[in-house]
Symmetry: C2
Subunit: 134 residues, 2 copies
């Protein structure tokens, strides 16, 4: 087997290739393009939140899903987790990093789109059901 | 129990409320803000594709996931499925509807973001790992 010196397009400081199955930027897309990340980032873009505040601001999310998603967002550098140890009991606060703020606009556009096009989607679903063989 | 005449904000032609757990626009967000929809819509925005062409254009997707996602996109009116019966064998072609085209810009922005910020996310992951207790 010959070793190749050609750089992996997804290594080091190279940009990703979203249409390559092996590119790790697929994991980033998987995290960012998800219902819960979209909703959580939409709440955090206004101001930092504590865990309980976030859970109330995103109705329907489970404790487990919120914990998991926040951890992945922190790991990938979109969310900063600050522990205020001078408080009794210590308070944990979540905020968006600069990287997190840089993705808020397209996510907002997708939230808006979902709200605005509900009537169109409802009509499409009715048409689809009508066309199905009985 | 009293019946209420107040309109459900998610009924009929009313717009959705994405921060309400019960609003059906949450399902739309769940479909659109997903890795596979984002990739499939990105391929279809250029021109219609047959199933096999789509599968090759989105490496890593399974037959089952592609079938399921296309069906949900068709059901919600973002994708049109055309059967060309005059062809032998009949050919099935998938294309974006006007509704589907209306969401391409924010999805493109999220794909681009994921590719462009791979180096930042890699650095963030290394920092995160270093800060974890051994």
């Amino acid at each position: 087997m010959e070793t190749t010196t050609q750089a992996n397009p997804c290594d080091d400081d190279h940009l990703g290739d979203i249409y390559s199955a092996e590119c790790p930027c697929r994991d980033i897309l998987d995290l960012v393009a998800s219902k819960w990340s979209t909703l959580i980032i939409g709440v955090l873009q206004d101001h930092p939140h504590r865990f309980g505040q976030l859970k109330r601001a995103v109705p329907g999310i489970t404790q487990k899903m919120l914990t998991q998603t926040l951890r992945r967002l922190e790991q990938d550098g979109l969310v900063h987790r600050e522990v205020h140890t001078q408080m009794r009991p210590p308070q944990v606060e979540y905020s968006l990093t600069d990287l997190g703020h840089s993705v808020t606009k397209p996510l907002e556009a997708i939230r808006d789109w979902s709200e605005r096009h509900l009537p169109d989607v409802r009509r499409a679903r009715r048409r689809f059901d009508e066309l199905q063989p009985a």
